[in-house]
Amino acid sequence: MSLLSLEHLTKRFPEGRGHTTVLEDLSLQVDAGDFVGIWGMRRSGKTTLLRVAAGRELPDAGSVWFDGHEMTSMSPDRRAALQRRNGIGLLSSDWRPERNNPAVEHVALPLLSDGMSLHEARHPAWKALERVGAAQWAHVPAARLSQSERIRVALAQILVHEPRVLLVDEPAVLPRPSDGAELFDLLRSLGGSSGLAVVIASEDIAPIRKARRLMSLGSGKLRPSDERGTLVPFPERTAARKRSQP
């Protein structure tokens, strides 16, 4: 069984007097160590898909399974717990840190809700910052970090919970292409041996170019790139083949 399984998801939002269908009978399986890249235009439903997969929103139909448990039928508290420990982390580009807190505190703070003291939480926070190559900014206030440095701290804040699935929404909002290349290489390297599954959804192809599985999202559906044999041949060719058959 897959680590994360989205089964026949449908999600609608009200629009005018009717509604718009953002996800329609959409299914996706993600295994441990997987690296999935989802390409989609603006407003194609990428953010909705990731939020539903992370348990932040419920679908109108269909189910989300994580490690054999149906998240869509869990209580909100249990779903929220999955975002805290060994569960599903969601990194989005709208992360807004407290301006004056140093990076290490940003990463340590979520662990306090797990019952750790700030003193205890600092050690795993350091480890998470090291894992994303951001330990050198541990004591720098968030307001003084660049956009790409902030994204790394936000990533550490998610990794400190040691998630098994990392969902990344639109990481392409970086000022310099070189920052992007480094971040995308980091995201790729986070998976692999650790078994962390990474799913990146982006309007830009740069963040997903090295994904093991590529797919596009549009009209509410996911289209995998590894499915073969749906191209319809020329009618003449089909006719010729039929004629040649005994």
Binding site: M41, I205, R209, G218, S225, T230, L231, V232
Partner: protein
């Protein structure tokens, strides 16, 4: 005809021809067709889908035009059987210079699927939607293959190869957007028509 004009004419033609000429001039030593095909594939990237056959064809024309000479490969023990190597002639540098200096023009767009859509009828729509899916998968495959060809910056060759890769990326990004738009327009048209028929 003056020699310069002739070289300019000879330099024009397929980009593959220019690339082979550049490799032979810049490497400065005789190279086999196999080695040239490997080098040109590396420098232009996998998206060009350079075939061995096209490389040999372009080399033959360069030989006919007097910009490249070919000879049997000579090894330490004598002449190697059947192996030919290619060298730039004295006129090759001027022809290469002329190619680099010549104004660049936009290549015509000849995507087969675009022609199919241009000539399609409404009842072809389901076939076109499937063809769009296949074309999208092809774009992703090209993206995957061009990702394998990444090289570090820092040298002129690194910069040039990265620019070539980015050109492929940008074109793939535009293709993917076009596919998404085409799919949406066709689906909206079909939905509208089916709603009209239902009334």
């Amino acid at each position: 005809m003056p020699q310069g004009t002739s070289d300019r004419r000879h330099a024009s033609g397929s980009p593959l021809r220019g690339a082979l000429l550049a490799l032979l001039v810049n490497e400065g030593e005789p190279l086999s067709g196999y080695r040239l095909a490997t080098l040109v594939e590396r420098r232009l990237g996998p998206a060009w889908r350079v075939t061995r056959q096209s490389v040999y064809g372009a080399l033959e024309r360069l030989v006919e035009d007097g910009l490249v000479s070919s000879a049997a490969k000579v090894t330490f023990h004598g002449v190697a059987e059947g192996q030919r190597v290619y060298s730039a002639t004295d006129r090759a540098s001027a022809a290469l210079e002329a190619w680099m200096e010549s104004p660049a023009t936009r290549e015509p767009m000849r995507v087969e699927l675009q022609a199919r859509i241009a000539l399609s009828r409404a009842h072809d729509a389901p076939h076109l939607l499937r063809a769009l899916d296949a074309y999208e998968r092809d774009c992703f495959e090209m993206l995957r293959r061009s990702s394998e060809a990444e090289v570090p910056m820092g040298s002129w060759v690194g910069l040039a190869m990265n620019l070539t890769r980015v050109a492929v990326d940008e074109s793939l990004q535009a293709d993917l957007r076009w596919i998404a738009l085409a799919r949406r327009w066709i689906e909206e048209f079909l939905a509208e028509r089916s709603a009209q028929q239902g009334r």
